[in-house]
Amino acid sequence: MEKKDIIQSFKDSLFTGFIALALFGPIVGLRTASKGEGLFITPQWGVVFLLVGLCILGRFLINLNSARTTEFTIFSKLASKFSAITEDKAKHFAITAILFAVVFPFLPFTDRYFMDVAIMILTYIMLGWGLNIVVGLAGLLDLGYVAFYAVGAYSYALIATTFGWSFWICLPLAGLFAAFFGILLGFPVLRLRGDYLAIVTLGFGEIIRIILINWYEVTNGPDGITGIPRPSFFGLPFKRSPDEGETSFHLFFNLEYSTMHRIIFLYYLILVLALITNYFTLKIRKLPVGRAWEALREDEIACKSLGVNPTNTKLTAFAIGAMFGGFAGSFFATRQAFISPESFTFIESAIIVAIVVLGGMGSQTGVVLASIFLIGITEMFRDLEQYRMIAFGGAMVLIMVFKPKGILANRKPTILMHGDKK
């Protein structure tokens, strides 16, 4: 690199520093604090200079990097190596991951907090896998997926509190209700694709939420539904002192009572539900209907010219995707024991779509990695309070820069003529 270039890039970084100063100066530098009577401004110039310095240095490094003639991008190399490993050894990877998930609750460092985060990540993995059918396979961009999550949660909550049926009866019913809503949404949007479809589904998500808020007689409006029954271990409830004539889990197995029992049970419950979703998706992808979904994503007109019924194909994708959303929803309801429309806002849909897209459309392993990455990172930075959303955004930007097609973008054919040669 020539001297002229260095001077040029140095000037450029100073200019960046100037802009950073103009921005950070008032935003970060001047902080209002209440001291005694009234508000006072406390300057924080140290922080400002640190930030401006970082901007200058960063810009200078970026300039140096782009001026180089040889290709050397360590991050993208690492990323591609990583995806190569996960693809080559996909089976080993999956088995290791499942084994790890199974023993996770009994690892020495696992505490209540870790379990809660793990349950949350698994819920998002399940939602991601469910949405993957609609977005990844059928190529229908659904921004209102949380609606089915909400339908599942509310159907479970309402059935369980009204009729007192057990979790195992309510779960399939909630899935059926959600699937029905999936078809309900599917019909009017059959002719829409891409951006238009995204907007309508986004609206659908909001409609469901607003109905939940306003239909006070049924959904109890913004107050939500409380006292949703907890799941029992095949009839054995997780209670310290069971009711008359009932045996609770710890008494039956002669254990010391611990709240962790229920958490561990919930963990395994969502793990099994998620794995069922995964198994089902992997299976159905190799069936004619799965291939038709992917064909529809590739070219709808060509599908029609080959006699594939686009209406049925799309509706099955919506219904099955929604069904898994409903299952996840009923799990959510039974875990929280309380649900309100607050839990089903657009940001939830956005996170699920982000997980699917960042994971690599249609990739099951990608969804797992993206969930761990996105949810894990936001949890890790919980101490930073509202700034943790920056970490969330940063994680998204990092993935998009280094793996623009998602973490695992390679699609494997559903059927091979010559066997697995590679």
Partner: protein, 263 residues
């Protein structure tokens, strides 16, 4: 030789524009019928009417089946391929580019496989009946791939094939629905002379070996004159000539339509 398709008084208007004006012609079984004409003559519109993408303003189209005949007007959309068994290819190739070559051919057998998989139920249970049917579908795909010489690329993405191979793949994909009538929209567009010659061979094979009539839109005269049994010439939506390839070559009207009239 029996009639396969008869088009009667077909008219298609888009607002004030008459794209096809009172067109009638027949196509026969095991024959290649070509539709030629200058750009904008309405050739692709005829195809879109036949294959259910447009609903014609007027006129009838019949597909003959032994003694009975079915009206194509009744079927729209995917039913043309599913029920009436009319297959088509597109001017700009429409494969499923991110799916493998084999998958492309299996999607073409979707309806059969759907029934075989018990609408996914047998498939999910992994029953033998379904696996056998799927194997049959793969064998059929292999049969067609052998013919176009692409068996070794069966597991590659269709989008990664060279242009000429994509053309051929689209044709055999259409053949996988076992059509009675195959409509090809400029199959030789963008092919080099060697690839066009291969295409001719493939079309002749389909014509003689399969119970399929071929309707062909083409600009490449080496293809049209080489393989057509019957030629229909359109200009401004009207049929100006109909006859064999040799007759067409020498027809005064056709030469005038293509080259203009001597003042």
């Amino acid at each position: 030789m029996s009639n396969l398709l008869s088009v009667e008084n077909l008219t298609m208007k888009f607002g004030g524009l008459t794209a096809i004006d009172d067109l009638s012609f027949d196509a026969k079984n095991n024959q290649i019928t070509s539709i030629i004409g200058p750009n904008g003559a309405g050739k692709t519109t005829v195809f879109n009417c036949l294959t259910g993408f447009y609903k014609p303003t007027n006129g009838q189209m019949f597909l003959h089946k032994e003694e009975s005949k079915i009206s194509l007007r009744k079927y729209t959309d995917f039913k043309i391929a599913y029920v009436a068994k009319v297959a088509r290819t597109f001017q700009n190739i429409r494969l499923f580019p991110a799916m493998s070559v084999l998958e492309n051919l299996l999607v073409a057998q979707h309806n059969k496989l759907m029934v075989a998989s018990g609408y996914s139920l047998y498939g999910l249970l992994n029953l033998k009946t379904y696996r056998d049917k799927e194997q049959l579908a793969v064998d059929k795909a292999k049969y067609w791939l052998d013919i176009i010489g692409l068996t070794h690329r069966a597991d590659d993405n269709a989008g990664d094939l060279p242009y000429g191979d994509q053309r051929k793949l689209e044709i055999v994909r259409a053949m996988c629905i076992e059509p009675r009538l195959l409509c090809l929209d400029e199959p030789a567009a963008g092919l080099n002379p060697r690839e066009s010659a291969e295409l001719n061979k493939l079309l002749k094979f389909i014509k003689t070996e399969k119970q399929t009539g071929i309707l062909l839109i083409e600009h490449d005269m080496s293809v049209v004159m080489g393989i057509s049994d019957h030629v229909v010439v359109l200009n401004y939506g009207k049929k100006i000539f109909e006859g064999t390839a040799d007759q067409t070559k020498n027809s005064k009207e056709v030469i005038e339509a293509y080259l203009g009239v001597d003042e």
